[in-house]
Symmetry: C2
Subunit: 330 residues, 2 copies
């Protein structure tokens, strides 16, 4: 466990560095800055807008306008280093994530992987040590409307886990989010929480692209696609349970419960377009390895048959490669 | 068994009616007509071209020009009826196939389903009786270049089976093809031959569309797509063997042999675009039920798990439905 210094990161002003200024990073950064924390963005595309015009958050919970925002470019030193670093990069940049975070990491920095998918904490743990690495899952509907402007549509809750499942450590991070009015719960185990989110993300992100542009309502209305979604979900549950067992964890998912709960929630969601579908429609790199590839590889290590997950992985991966070729050709 | 009348359909001039004047129907019709048989086409789109300009076959084996061709429209009586009727409709028209064939079917007519997929003989058998229904699988590369003009690229061999597996009956049909210089073999069992073709068609037709435009070389070069193709092929073999066993048939497929043989053949084929992919690229209805849906339904009846076949079926079916909506919107 890391020492919590005199200041802590909760009771006083914390220095928060956000690496990756996409919609999610800008949203949480704006909320933390508005709560009085000392926030710095590490950005590339968004850098000039943040420096020149600041940051605007348009939200049903109240708009927010930060006329001056601290922002540095990738690779520039961040002095002093962060108390808490939120890595909100897309997982398609996971191979350079640790490199981009490093300039803001000091001896006391807690490093949070606020990203989708499985094993996304691994490169941060390898570089900075597992004891100070966390995973956060955000349940939030946000998108970037224009440079420096983020639209918040709904939700905002985060689930926090510590990579070694130190709950006291995870509570520190959760408290920081709460200090900005954000609902934050601590997961009993980070791995369990990651798999819980994958139970939804694998079938619905996967199918939204594999079925070439299907929103959640389209998937649910088509009996064959719906069957496929359920089958994929059950394969994720089986993989999750085997993975948890192999790690000596005690939690298990009950497949029927997961299926009935997540399908009911998805019905309630209406015609929702997954993040992967939106990336696909914009021709952007897809988070295929973190969301589909890593779970499939884990299943293979555990000698499980996951044919539906494998089909979704193979088909989405083929599309992602085609998108990459199309981008190169432009 | 049907009586073979004095003329037979082999030794003399046979009256052959081709229902459906796509590239395949035009190719075999032209060859049979050139061999001296009395050929009538039952056509819709191609009708005027056939009547006004006749039929031209451009082939590496020699071009063929038939300046006058007998052709009637859908629903018009065909007098006298056929000795042999070749139903070469796309299986997307399977629900009206018997209706379109009926005007050319007399008491002595043999009816051949020259179509892709499983159970495509069923509507013809229901209408005309199984004893005179045959299935033919064509291995031929042809496409329609313009109205009344067909380009023959390669191959041409047919495999003939009788629906009740009367080999003498099947030999009559094979002989007719041979009389026009077409290589024709009689399948030991029609069902076995249908499944044999599906071992290739399910994975490669399915993936070519599900992976959104992948030719066979692309599928083979992508390790995950290739794995998916092999898995689908093994599921087809398992379904085929269970289906053959349930029917009391003795033939079985050996999965490893099928996989090694068909993959080697596919490598040799080069970057081949499946018929389903070509339909997909042209926005035409896909033969999804005959090639994917019927095999999946048979597997379900047999209580077999065929997750990869199901995934291909669900995803191709979703695309086919989207194509249908797009056509309606035009």
């Amino acid at each position: 466990m890391l020492p919590t210094d005199g200041l802590g990161i909760v009771s006083a002003v914390a220095r928060v560095v956000i690496v990756g200024a996409g919609a999610v990073g800008l949203f949480y950064g704006a909320r933390l800055a508005a709560a009085g924390h000392d926030v710095v963005f590490v950005a590339r595309r968004e850098l000039e807008a943040l420096r020149q015009r600041g940051l605007e958050l348009r939200s049903p919970e109240g708009d927010l306008r930060l006329s001056t925002v601290a922002a540095v470019g990738y690779g520039e030193p961040v002095v002093p280093p962060a108390d808490l670093l939120l890595c909100t990069l897309k997982t398609t940049a996971l191979d350079v994530a640790a490199e981009l975070c490093a300039p803001a990491v000091g001896p006391g920095t807690r490093v949070v992987a606020l990203m989708n998918g499985l094993d996304v904490e691994a490169p941060l743990a390898e570089r900075f040590g597992a004891a100070r690495v966390f995973g956060v899952m955000a349940f939030v509907g946000v998108h970037r409307e224009e440079p420096g402007v983020v639209r918040h549509v709904a939700y905002g809750r985060v689930t926090v886990g510590h990579l070694l499942d130190d709950r006291t450590e995870a509570e520190h991070v959760a408290e920081l989010f709460r200090s900005a009015g954000i609902e934050a719960v601590v997961a009993p185990s980070l791995r369990y929480a990651r798999w819980e989110k994958l139970c939804w993300n694998v079938p619905f992100n996967g199918l939204s692209v594999a079925a070439d542009g299907a929103d959640t309502a389209t998937i649910l209305a088509d009996e064959e696609l719906r069957r496929l979604a359920e089958r994929a979900m059950r394969e994720v549950v089986a993989t999750a349970n085997a993975d948890l067992a192999a790690r000596g964890a005690e939690e298990r998912f009950v497949a029927d419960d997961v299926v009935s709960r997540l399908f009911a929630q998805t019905v309630a969601l209406g015609p929702y377009r997954t993040s992967m579908l939106i990336d696909y429609e914009h021709g952007r790199p897809l988070e295929v390895e973190a969301i589909l590839g890593n779970p499939v590889r884990r299943a293979r290590e555990l000698h499980l048959e996951v044919p539906t997950m494998e089909a979704l992985y193979a088909l989405v991966r083929a599309r992602d490669r085609r998108l990459a070729r199309d981008r190169e050709a432009r």
